[in-house]
Subunit: 221 residues, 2 copies
DNA sequence: GCAATAGTGTCTATTAGACAATATGGG
DNA sequence: CCCATATTGTCTAATAGACACTATTGC
């Protein structure tokens, strides 16, 4: 076994799963590990590549998510691949990092059989010290997500199937960590082909009703 | 051996090495493979991770480059990681793609002992059909490089230690595939801290001499 | 009418693109 | 002086940010 360790590195996928909580704050899923290495340690969810069932590392990431959440097909995006002999106590390892977006109305993550506990944490200040190089990974995943939104991408995958423009703006603000101007935000949406109007309306509470939108199918991000 | 293939994927690094030719056109290094798999097939240079000598996949990529070129430390940047059971005939494989930038005045690549031939090719229209998924990889590497330049990054690593603003503009144009406005290009450089003036001057040929610049050390890209 | 939010309009400072004008060397 | 390029300046259209204004519902 130690011989194969030297010849073949460990290959796995780690996932920073983001969602919005009830107050529209950005949250990331952390798990407390039950098994070796680092039992009781907190980390991003991840799992070893299984060549017999996975057709790609994307599949590995999806398997990891399937064991933690109820959502069928979360949006997945590759961030970066870390590698080295010392970043995992089991030996030379290669880890591909993904971020995933979970719609805010989905069933939240559930504790699986391989985890002691789970927690939706503030990605800027996770309450636990993360093992391996996962603190660095989380920061990189958040930076990549923010970068996409800054460049004009709409985080539609964080929202329910139908949503108002204000909800979309709140999602962007949660990701970026600061408020956005309503006028400028709506103006830019005029040029976007990623979402479209839905004939129905929104009638909740006291305020004026708002137009509902939905994501145009088969679009990136 | 076939058992270990199933348990551990092949891990390797592939590199799209870009440089500028004498006419300041963007070129990418292609190799004709001598060994299995795909002997005589053209591909991007790449090599298997060697856990005994590599401290990261970056090191693997640097080893690959060292065997093809004379340059000591080319600029290296990770692009994406491809994976799957069928993309390499040897079995389940994980390939991390890098792009590298070679200064235009450096000694060009030399044919190594594991390659039949090398060629500096037009990255938009390589003259050979590339094996594996390397055509897709090359397109992705070029897109990533262009993206960085569009976002304002300066490809200083494609240039000799000292260069004129016009040479830098030619490098950007070669990457982007279209011409840039001289005035706008120079205006943006005023806000850049990535390069600085060199007291010396440039005296070649008939035209007016041009100010030489150099990259500020320890800067990304 | 009032509260609260949806949706629109306006003004301005900044910027990218196009392009003109000037500067400076060799021959 | 002429040529070729370096370097700078100018004009304009497009854009982002700030902010004010109007619209529409429930109560």
């Amino acid at each position: 076994m130690s011989e194969s360790k030297r010849l073949y590195p460990i290959v796995n996928a780690d996932v920073a799963l983001f969602t919005l909580d009830a107050e529209s704050r950005l949250r990331v899923l952390l798990i407390q590990r039950a098994n070796n290495p680092a039992p009781k340690g907190w980390a991003l969810p991840g799992g070893l590549l299984n060549p017999e069932v996975d057709n790609s590392l994307d599949d590995t990431a999806l398997r990891v998510l399937a064991s933690k959440t109820q959502v069928a097909l979360p949006h997945l995006e590759q961030v970066v691949t870390h590698s080295g002999p010392d970043r995992d106590p089991r030996g030379w390892s290669v880890s591909t990092l993904y971020y995933a977006l979970l719609p805010s109305n989905q069933v939240p993550a559930v504790a699986g059989n391989k985890t002691e506990a789970i927690e939706w944490a503030d990605p800027e200040k996770p309450g636990h010290r993360l093992g391996f190089d996962h603190a660095q990974m989380l920061a990189k995943a958040l930076a990549t997500l923010r970068d996409k939104v800054v460049r004009g991408a709409l985080p539609l995958h964080l929202l329910p199937p139908q949503f108002t423009i204000t909800e979309l703006q709140r999602a962007c603000e949660a990701i970026l960590g600061h408020e956005l101007d309503k006028g400028a935000f709506r103006r830019q949406l005029k040029n976007s082909v990623a979402m479209e109007e839905v004939p129905g309306e929104f009638v909740r509470g006291p305020p004026r009703p708002a137009q509902l939108f939905r994501a145009v199918p088969n679009l990136p991000f």
